[in-house]
């Protein structure tokens, strides 16, 4: 192999980014597809949040849909009932979900593994119940209509679907970059250390509690940001935007894409969403097909699509450079493998 700095990962990232940038141009005014893309991009931002807490620290937060819903409703209610502008509302959504994540993390993170998952599932459900029942503030099931578009700058008019799409895309790229930077840095190493063994992490001076709390807060912040954007994209929002189903959908996106990877969330989100749209023609029967597909995916592709590509590239590379030892590089792709390959016959 040559000594060029060619990196398949970088190429892959570039390709995905390019595809997303150019997608609207190839649609020829198909606003429905643009809508699916835009909505998908908002979900993907939230999924990056889930990636931070789940992919890097190994904690499965099932309150994610709930925090997304908080973002949705803060922007939804502030821009309608209180007549705020969009941007300050979004800021409030981000700050509230960040603080909310940090504070609730104090209690939530006392629990571990399955307990954490179920604790956060309950939290998510309580958020949903509050949103869907607190009639006087959230209008419960009536939902919120007439959510404002973001105020434009100069020529940018966000009521144009395509402009809105690029706005969401900008945030999405930001989310992906933050994930990348965090993973590459000592912070990423800290989080992965916590995921692998909390006791050991503690013994080398990592403040496990605080770091998990920060990671949790970061993840809820992403969810809140995504929710705020989602509200503007939809115009009308109801309590289903905070439902537990949404959390599981996001989890599905991330598993299909590849847990802990930089591209996984965006790839997984778009693939699954388009799968969902595609199977819409089967109406109620689509779950007869989708259910088994989901099961098959986690059984046969536990590392997700991007996880596989990474492993594949890794293999090619180590074959190319001879022994895999001594590369001394950062943990980039090793740590993304969550599948345990224990071949015991038990």
């Amino acid at each position: 192999m040559t000594t060029s700095t060619f990196s398949p990962q970088r190429l892959g990232t570039l390709l995905v980014a390019l595809a997303l940038l150019l997608a609207p141009l190839t649609l020829g005014g198909q606003e429905y597809v643009l809508r699916v893309l835009t909505v998908g991009a908002t979900y993907a931002i939230a999924v990056y949040g889930m990636n931070l807490i789940l992919g890097l620290t190994g904690q499965l937060s099932l309150a994610h849909g709930g925090f997304f819903g908080i973002g949705v409703y803060i922007v939804g209610l502030l821009t309608t009932d209180y007549d705020w502008a969009f941007w300050p509302s979004l800021l409030v959504a981000v700050v509230v979900t960040a603080l909310g994540g940090f504070v609730s993390g104090v209690v939530a993170l006392r629990t571990r593994e399955e307990y954490f998952a179920i604790f956060t599932m309950a939290m998510g459900f309580i958020i949903f119940l509050v949103i869907s029942r607190w009639e006087s503030v959230t209008h419960a099931h009536s939902g919120v209509s007439g959510v404002k578009f973001p105020e434009g700058f100069g020529l940018l008019d966000f009521s144009e679907p395509i402009v809105m799409y690029y706005l969401v895309l900008l945030f999405l790229l930001g989310a992906a970059y933050v994930t990348h930077a965090v993973r590459r840095s000592g912070i990423g190493r800290t989080l992965v250390a916590i995921r692998t063994s909390e006791d050991l992490a503690r013994s080398i001076g990592i403040n496990v509690g605080l770091n998990k709390q920060l990671a949790f807060a970061a993840s809820t912040t992403f969810a809140g940001l995504a929710g705020g954007l989602f509200a503007a994209v939809q115009g009308f929002v109801g309590p289903s935007a905070a439902s537990i189903d949404l959390t599981f959908e996001m989890l599905m996106f991330i598993l299909v894409g590849g847990l802990g990877t930089v591209l996984g969330p965006v790839v997984g989100t778009f693939i699954v969403l388009f799968l969902f749209e595609f199977f819409q023609d089967f109406e109620a029967y689509r779950f007869l097909v989708l259910g088994p597909i989901i099961v098959a995916l986690v059984i046969f592709a536990p590392r997700g699509i991007v996880g596989y590509l990474n492993a594949f590239v890794g293999k090619l590379r180590s074959r190319g450079t001879g022994a895999g030892t001594g590369s001394g590089g950062p943990p980039e792709h090793r740590s993304s493998d969550t599948a345990t390959d224990v071949k015991e016959t038990l």
């Binding site: 912070i187 992965v192 250390a193 006791d199 001076g205 990592i206 030892t325 090793r334």
Partner: protein
């Protein structure tokens, strides 16, 4: 100089006195060993010193500062590192990444540095890499740096866990049964490594059942049984203490040692 001073330390687990009113002084630059039967409270004592457990009574002072009940991430920052009785590594990361994780406590760059790739961040990453490599060289395992931790031999894994502890730049290193499961030959290598560590200016606390190692290395020995001190002193005094022989070494121990 006394680096660590323990007074009246106790830890109860629902009625069980795992550690009971223990006093201990660890002098700087020396090796202090703690021995005793299984369940005597040795590991618990280490857990108390490193902040993993909160004591139910007593005090721990380190470098004249009270660190009683301080959480592990702070004791490590103050300079106490430890290894575990069962080797514990970040199993799916490389050896080098394992040791790099030990640098976290000495790093100061934040998420924002990482996202913005500030010069401080880059400088620190370079420094961390150097220090980690130094720790690998020191423990003699730098050739394994690119391998996945769980796939290297046990002995190397044990060395990795020591390198990881050293990467946190400790002043006091607590080793919990570093030689468990090693052959005699390998044990010799570990004894040498521990001597090197001390020579490098790090004080060592050692829990070990391998008497050949303890007796040849330790400057001072504390013997625990049922959480209580039953003897303390130099290897010679401890070895011949009838209480220690009865509770721990066994009558035919002398004879076995003699044969070796």
């Amino acid at each position: 100089m006394t680096l660590l001073e323990v007074r009246g330390l106790g830890k109860h687990f629902s009625g069980l006195h795992a550690v009971d009113d223990v006093d201990l002084d660890i002098s700087a630059g020396r090796i202090t060993a703690i021995i005793g039967p299984n369940g005597a409270g040795k590991s618990t004592l280490f857990n108390l010193l490193a902040g993993f457990y909160r004591p139910t009574s007593g005090t721990v002072r380190f470098k004249d500062r009270d660190i009683t009940g301080m959480s592990p991430h702070r004791t490590v920052a103050h300079g106490i590192a430890r290894t575990f009785q069962t080797t514990n590594l970040f199993e799916d990361a490389t050896v080098l990444d394992n040791v790099l994780s030990g640098r976290v406590v000495r790093s100061h760059s934040t998420v924002f540095d990482a996202v913005l790739r500030t010069p401080r961040h880059r400088r620190e990453e370079r420094l961390n890499l150097d220090k980690a490599m130094a720790a690998l060289e020191f423990t003699g395992i730098s050739e394994y740096r690119g391998e996945i931790a769980s796939s290297v031999p046990q002995e190397v894994q044990k060395r990795v866990s020591i390198a990881l502890a050293l990467a946190t730049e400790p002043e006091l290193l607590l080793l919990d049964e570093p030689a468990a499961g090693l052959t005699e030959e390998e044990t010799g290598g570990f004894a040498q490594l521990i001597r090197d560590i001390v020579a490098d200016g790090v004080t060592v606390g050692l829990v070990e059942h391998r008497m050949s190692m303890v007796m040849s290395l330790a400057d001072h020995i504390l013997v625990l049984d049922h959480g209580k001190e039953i003897a303390a002193g130099t290897p010679e005094t401890v070895r011949t203490d009838p209480q220690v022989i009865e509770a721990y070494l066994g009558a035919d121990h002398q004879e076995q040692e003699g044969a070796g």
